[in-house]
Symmetry: C2
Subunit: 367 residues, 2 copies
């Protein structure tokens, strides 16, 4: 199956199917995206899903590509070098992801932690969330959250302050992130990280989409830290998802008199989360940073911090214009998956950037 046909088919499926369905995930993995689109269009799933059938019959491939392009978005699918393979741990991985921003999601996610929590956070929680994100960022950890008011926003801001990358996983399209009060935050994340969504541009968030979005945050990250959460909080769902995925789940305690700490206390009480109070507790649970990234912490000249392998790969990049993984394979002795990993790391460090299906040197990469 051609990669671009697969991408186009998945784009059409995104327009017809809600994320998080194990039924569709199973169909796609067994039959492939193209056959599922064909069967949907010919009415084979009419009984199972009349709404999906109707929607795909109305979908227009060209219009969808325009929608993506107008939103300055990128669609990645399983098998792309930027696809975070951790997502395959999910029972129902996203069919595809829409991205908007500068960071390579796969590399960002490799050394990432989720920091989530209450929208109606207390000042205690907001301060903790931004401090934890800042300190983790300074140690080389990227922060992934949901860009909601309260804890999520504080976590993104702390990460940005540290100079680390941050990704916001949205329940809406990447072109109209929710809440709109965070417009400036979204622009900053785009310029210093990436917005991620499994719905198409233009799509509004729903309660259901918030819930299935949470599993993506849990799957992308090494662990989930709940800073503050009321007893009925979406972040408890993220924690439950992380637990199911065997990721670390951590929660910060607070005064027993604070309703926004009650969800954290419940998680700890039910042994669904480990209690953590500071950076060192968190590091204990999410484990060591990948060697490549930890060496970069406190780097002076970024290029000095590259491994010999990364430097060698940079050197075979053309000084002008893009290149492809295939060309890089021909010019190096490295296997494809190693090249993909190195590309991700070089992109995270700002030496290269995506250029359509290929890659090219950034200004820093040419220096």
């Amino acid at each position: 199956m051609n990669r671009e046909e697969d991408r186009q088919a998945r784009l059409e499926l995104m327009s017809a199917i809600e994320g998080g369905s194990t039924f569709w995930s199973h169909e796609i993995s067994v039959r492939g995206s193209i056959e599922v689109v064909q069967r949907l269009k010919s009415g084979d799933y009419l009984e199972h899903s009349p709404s999906a059938t109707r929607r795909i019959q109305q979908s227009d491939g060209e219009a969808l590509r325009e929608l993506i392009s107008n939103a300055k978005a990128l669609v990645i699918i399983p098998g792309d070098s930027e696809w975070p393979t951790q997502l395959n741990d999910l029972d129902a991985p996203p069919i595809a992801l829409c991205l908007r921003g500068v960071a390579d999601l796969r590399s960002l996610a490799l050394c990432s932690i989720a920091i989530v929590g209450a929208r109606a956070a207390s000042s205690y929680g907001v301060r903790l969330a931004s401090e934890m994100a800042l300190q983790l960022g300074e140690r080389g950890w990227n922060v992934i959250s949901g860009a909601a008011y309260g804890i999520d926003a504080a976590a993104h801001r702390g990460a940005l302050l540290s100079g680390a990358l941050t990704a916001a996983v949205l329940a809406s399209g990447v072109d109209q992130p929710y809440p709109s009060g965070h417009d400036r935050l979204y622009e900053t994340i785009c310029a210093n990280g990436v917005l991620v969504s499994e719905v198409l541009p233009g799509v509004a968030p729903t309660r259901g989409r918030f819930l299935v979005r949470n599993r993506v945050i849990a799957a992308l990250t090494r662990g989930t830290l709940v800073v503050e959460a009321a007893l009925r909080s979406g972040s408890l769902r993220t924690a439950a998802d992380a637990l199911t995925l065997n990721r670390s789940v951590m929660a910060m305690p607070g005064p027993v008199t604070s309703p926004t700490s009650a969800g954290c206390h419940r998680l700890i009480m039910e042994h669904k989360a480990e209690l953590v109070t500071d950076l060192s507790d968190v590091l204990l649970h999410i484990g060591p940073l990948l060697a490549e990234n930890s060496e970069r912490v406190a780097a002076t000249n970024p290029r000095d911090q590259l491994t010999e392998e990364e430097k060698a790969l940079l050197e075979i990049f053309p000084s002008r214009g893009g290149t492809s993984v295939e060309k890089l394979m021909n010019l190096s002795d490295l296997p494809a998956n190693r090249i993909l990993a190195l590309l991700g790391l070089l992109a995270t460090s700002g030496f290269i950037e995506r250029d359509g299906a290929g890659w090219l040197l950034t200004k820093q990469g040419k220096a």
Copy 2:
């Protein structure tokens, strides 16, 4: 061995030996207290313990009895009806206990919880400790603590406020409790509970005595609740003792920014304590109250709350003067251990009181 000879021998041992020694505990359980005193006096332990040998050779049985009597104290030993048999769970149970106050220690301890914590408690911790003690007291639970400043004192006060009984286990003699700033609290505990010590009247507290005292608090109670504790806190020792004894260990969280919650967080983090936030969490861990006591909660006329068995036992008490367990056995169909249990419960409820080796009706019991 005669009970009173045993008591006298243990009194002499208390004057010579520090509490908490497994060596002496073993010697006493194998040889009996009287033989251990004889061997100590004749120098058989001179090599092992020259100081204990010197002290017992200087001890004066008559003077010791006077010391106890002048302190208005009572000495109880294993086998006494008031001896809390839970203490036998310890590797080194107290040789004997000095008591001062009105409550029957055994009955009080049967439905008791330890509430302990930081001396330098925060206002948050002090409020929590007194509220938890008050609420537990209202549900029929007695509170045992160490009468220190901070959490301990707040726990005793909350218990007193609820009308529950409270016991303070001291590291000093019951006649000169430490700290002296708590003199009024001690008098209130004496009038509504009991002061407990495994050292003789006149003895000052030492660091070692505080530590071995903690195991008594842990052993007497169904569970230990640490409300606030710094990272190096004696209450963590009580928690460790309770864990060793398979008692419930509970800790309350607080702000991660509060040093007086750091010890609680550490206990939870290391899975040595369960996180609890309120009364219902605590009740979950310490289990149901004994039926006899829970029926008494919210009693109007105390006599109406007695079981038929308790009422029957009260009725065979002489209206004037004391009686003994032997006499009660003759007058009832009950076995000795059942009579002892009922006596403890009747004493806790204020219907009877100790009269030397026997028991007599209180004013309330005669009513």
